[in-house]
């Protein structure tokens, strides 16, 4: 048996009165890639945070190289070679790459920074990672994937033996993911142990040596990755059959007058002359690579972002270009891809989040806020969307990603929208919640509403959309319907091989 890099024995953990881990046993061998999968709220993040010293277990034992250890903080874990790379970047944006790599562990010479040594070491690490990032570039000028590389370089600068990665590919493109996987495999071959959290099961299948499944704070099983297929993993995660991830598409909605007509919208640097129509009862997918301008286009449509030209007609009447409030009054809502930064007030309780768009409907006779009505709306949302919450007075930040997303959707539904624009609605949420979101979208369309779905996950676009528009570098490249809606065709347009409609 290979040597164990880390091990947990019957670890338990609660947040306040909410238990999140029950007697979890977990083994990490030296030089293996060990995937940790489970729905949101299953306890994955908590478990790895205990490994990395962010949290301490309430009971149970943590072993490193077979000996019991306690990490009072992340510094202690890092000193022992255990490093965690965050889902959200932990980089100082105004500092350079090399300053970030050595942040908090600067190399000193005679009491002053030894910049030359740090520069050389940074360059070495980056080179080993196979990237061309300039060590002297400012982090804020880097692309998202390069930032991810810097995070990894930062961890490697510590000579870490255990590397914990929490959804490292969430923001990467396909090409970047390939590079990352090569690096991860190379690290493993050098004896580094990797804990890999992901919701993308095909990645887990492709990358991991072993897989541990968590569900509701319990360890369900640990298996060799070669012995599980993606369906098995999904089934183990949710504990039931996921017969059909996507709801069946309805009949092609017959096209009368468009509900929404977007004409030649431009937004400097992001969108050029984009036009499209949206019809009642359809799901219109927007595909494209990250940075294709889809988010910016939709923000222009609803008035959240200033456009330099173009008009938007809702049922034939122009919409205000400068006010999202005008869109809301016309029952057009937009779900931001940035749930924590733009979607929800994470430090506030649930009720004020759900009612913020519809406070005028939560007033007493005298025009004051009615707490009871707000609570009733929250109850209704919790029931309708099957939200799992620790308590009704919980803050949004205490919910898992999937449950936060349900609250975000519930917030939008309060205005009884006619048009729903969803930007990456399943980012960072578990497969069970994903399925619920898919059925929710289809149901909206079936009720005659219109839905725009922006997604970077092609299976999602293909599985849900009645019609697909592909964007590339701010330009609408083409529109696909019927049989054309498949991954290969979309990629041809998204990468610029096909298309480029005059528009």
């Amino acid at each position: 048996m290979a040597e164990l890099a880390m091990q947990t024995i019957k670890i338990c953990k609660s947040y306040g009165t909410v238990p999140v881990l029950f007697d979890v046993d977990f083994e990490l061998k030296k030089g293996e890639i060990h995937a940790l999968i489970g729905e949101n709220g299953a306890g994955k993040s908590t478990l790895v945070k205990i490994l990395a010293g962010y949290h301490q277990q309430a009971s149970g034992e943590l072993l490193r190289r077979g000996k019991p250890v306690t990490y009072p903080n992340t510094g202690a874990a890092e000193a022992d070679g255990v490093v965690m790379i965050h889902q959200e970047f932990n980089l100082a944006n105004d500092l350079t790459v090399e300053e970030n790599i050595f942040l908090g562990k600067e190399i000193m010479r005679r009491g002053f920074l030894d910049k030359a040594a740090m520069r050389q070491r940074s360059a070495e690490i980056l080179q080993n990672l196979g990237t061309t990032i300039n060590p002297r570039a400012r982090v804020k000028d880097l692309s998202v994937s390069d930032k991810q590389m810097v995070e990894i370089a930062k961890a490697l600068a510590l000579n870490s033996e255990v590397l914990i990665m929490d959804e490292p590919t969430a923001v990467l493109t396909a090409g970047e993911i390939d590079v990352l996987f090569k690096i991860i495999r190379a690290l493993r071959d050098h004896g580094v142990s990797i804990v890999y959290i992901s919701h993308k099961l095909h990645e887990v299948k492709a990358l991991a040596d072993r897989v541990t499944v968590l569900r509701d704070g319990h360890r369900i099983c640990t298996e060799r990755a070669s012995e599980l297929n993606e369906d098995d993993m999904a089934r183990l995660m949710v504990g039931r059959e996921l017969s059909t991830l996507f709801p069946p598409k309805g009949q092609a909605p017959h096209r009368s007058a468009p509900v929404l007509e977007v004409q030649k919208i431009s937004c400097p640097r992001y969108v050029q002359n984009a036009s499209f129509q949206l019809y009642a009862g359809e799901v219109l997918g927007f595909a494209g690579l990250i940075g294709a301008g889809r988010t910016e286009l939709m923000e222009c449509v609803v008035g959240l972002r200033r456009r330099s030209s173009g008009t938007v007609l809702y049922r034939g009447k122009p919409l205000s270009a400068r006010s999202y409030g005008d869109a809301i009054r016309n029952r057009i809502v937009y779900l931001s891809e940035d749930r924590k930064g733009k979607g929800l007030f994470t430090s506030m309780p649930l009720a004020p989040n759900v009612t913020i768009l519809s406070l005028h409907e939560h007033l007493t006779r005298f025009g004051f806020l009615d707490g009871r009505k707000e609570e009733a709306t929250l109850d209704q949302t919790i029931e309708e969307f099957d939200v799992r919450i620790p308590s009704k007075r919980a803050l949004v930040s205490m919910l898992s990603g999937g449950n936060q997303q349900k609250i975000a959707l519930g917030k939008l539904m309060q205005v009884e929208p006619d048009i729903v624009i969803l930007d990456e609605p399943t980012r960072g949420i578990d497969v069970g919640t994903k399925q619920q979101v898919y059925y929710f979208i289809r149901e909206l369309a079936e009720r005659g509403k219109s839905c725009i779905l922006i997604s970077s996950e092609l299976p999602e676009i293909v599985g849900l959309s009645d019609r697909v528009i592909v964007m590339r570098s701010g330009v609408v490249m083409g529109e696909l319907t019927g049989e054309e809606v498949n991954e290969e065709e979309i990629m041809l347009y998204a990468t610029g091989v096909k298309g480029g409609m005059a528009g």
Binding site: L304, S323, Y324, G325, A327, I328, Y334, S336, D338, G341, K342, G343, L344, F345, T346, S347, M348, P352, I356, L357, L359, H360, L363, G367, F368, L369, K411
Partner: protein, 334 residues
């Protein structure tokens, strides 16, 4: 235990779990300080002294209620003390002018009060517009207007003191020194302002939007809240609170100079902070702000009554209290 008692106890427990120490803390501090004051000097508890203490808390207290809204959005207004001084100066000049035409009448005083409210709202509007339209940090803008207002009043007073016409002073005097049902009028006004503030903050859409903005500008924007408009409104509200404080301050001394309202901005902000409102916005405790203002007034009074610490060290003690209060809040949160 019978069932009724059991549910009764459950209710008490439920209530207990609902009380947050952050809310109650400042009130406990007020009570503790009163016990301390009495222990040091029994005259502390005399009606005359207590009245004096609470009345004095009214100026910064009223200003602090407005500041709770500004800070609730995550901004700050440093100009309130100077604005109060400027307002006082203009009121006095205006009354001294009107008295020539209308005599020492309530018409004169009322017109000056109206002018004060107008000036306060206008000052707040200017602060708010420059901050939102100019997209400048509120700290910078109000640091600028703080200097401007202070300098304007010094200029109006020609470097000296502006004094209110004596007959008008006599007429206006009861607004500060008078009582209603034995309660000093400034205290009544303070209570009213606090109550209106609490209703605005907790029971209206405006208040909800204030906290939403303080919680996150971006999320507020993406929730179709007109962030700039709400922010400007908080500054106007702050200006009106300054005007109200000025209206009850002018009859106290009947004069204004370059040092009028000196340091009020710090006292008001400190009252908000020890009351439990977070500097970064998103939470706002009106009752805490009231307690915060009273705490400062009591400390000053205790120092006056005791010989242990020189009253010149008042500022030092206040500073320690501010830092201590925030430390306590921080640790109780964790």
């Amino acid at each position: 235990m019978n069932q009724e008692a059991a549910t009764g106890w459950a209710k008490v427990k439920e209530l207990g779990s609902r009380i947050s120490w952050q809310d109650v803390g400042p009130l406990i501090a007020v009570f503790a300080l009163m016990v301390l004051g009495t222990a040091i000097n029994p005259t502390f508890l005399s009606m005359g002294n207590l009245t004096n203490v609470f009345t004095r808390s009214a100026f910064t207290g009223i200003i602090a209620i407005g500041a709770t809204f500004v800070i609730g959005t995550g901004s700050i207004d440093l100009s309130v003390g100077s604005m109060a001084a400027f307002n006082s100066g203009v009121m006095i000049i205006f009354m001294n002018y009107l008295v020539q035409h209308w005599g020492a009448t309530w018409a004169t005083v009322t017109a000056a009060m109206a002018l004060s409210l107008l000036l306060g709202a206008a000052g707040g509007l200017v602060n708010g517009l420059v901050i939102t339209k100019g997209r400048i940090e509120s700290f910078i803008v109000t640091l600028g207007t703080m200097g401007i207002f202070r300098s304007l009043v010094t200029y109006l007073a020609n470097g000296g003191t502006l004094s209110l016409n004596l007959p008008v002073r006599g007429l206006y005097r009861p607004v500060y020194y008078g009582t209603f049902l034995k309660i000093p009028i400034p205290l009544i006004i303070f209570c009213l302002v606090a109550m209106v503030g609490a209703v605005l903050m907790y029971k209206t859409r405006f208040g909800r939007y204030v906290l939403a903005i303080g919680s996150s500008y971006h999320v507020a924007h993406y929730s179709a809240i007109n962030v700039n408009r709400i922010r400007v409104l908080t500054y106007i509200l702050q200006g009106i609170c300054v005007a109200i404080a000025t209206i009850i301050y002018v009859p106290r001394l009947g004069s204004a100079s370059g040092t009028t309202g000196y340091g009020w901005e710090l006292e008001a902000i400190a009252a908000v902070i020890i009351g439990g409102t977070a500097m970064k916005g998103g939470t706002a405790k009106i009752l805490g702000t009231v307690a915060g203002a009273i705490i400062f007034s009591i400390i000053g009074n205790i120092l006056n009554l005791s010989d242990a610490i020189s009253q010149y060290l008042n500022g030092a003690v206040q500073g320690l209290i501010i830092i201590g209060a925030v430390l306590v809040q921080r640790t109780s949160k964790e």
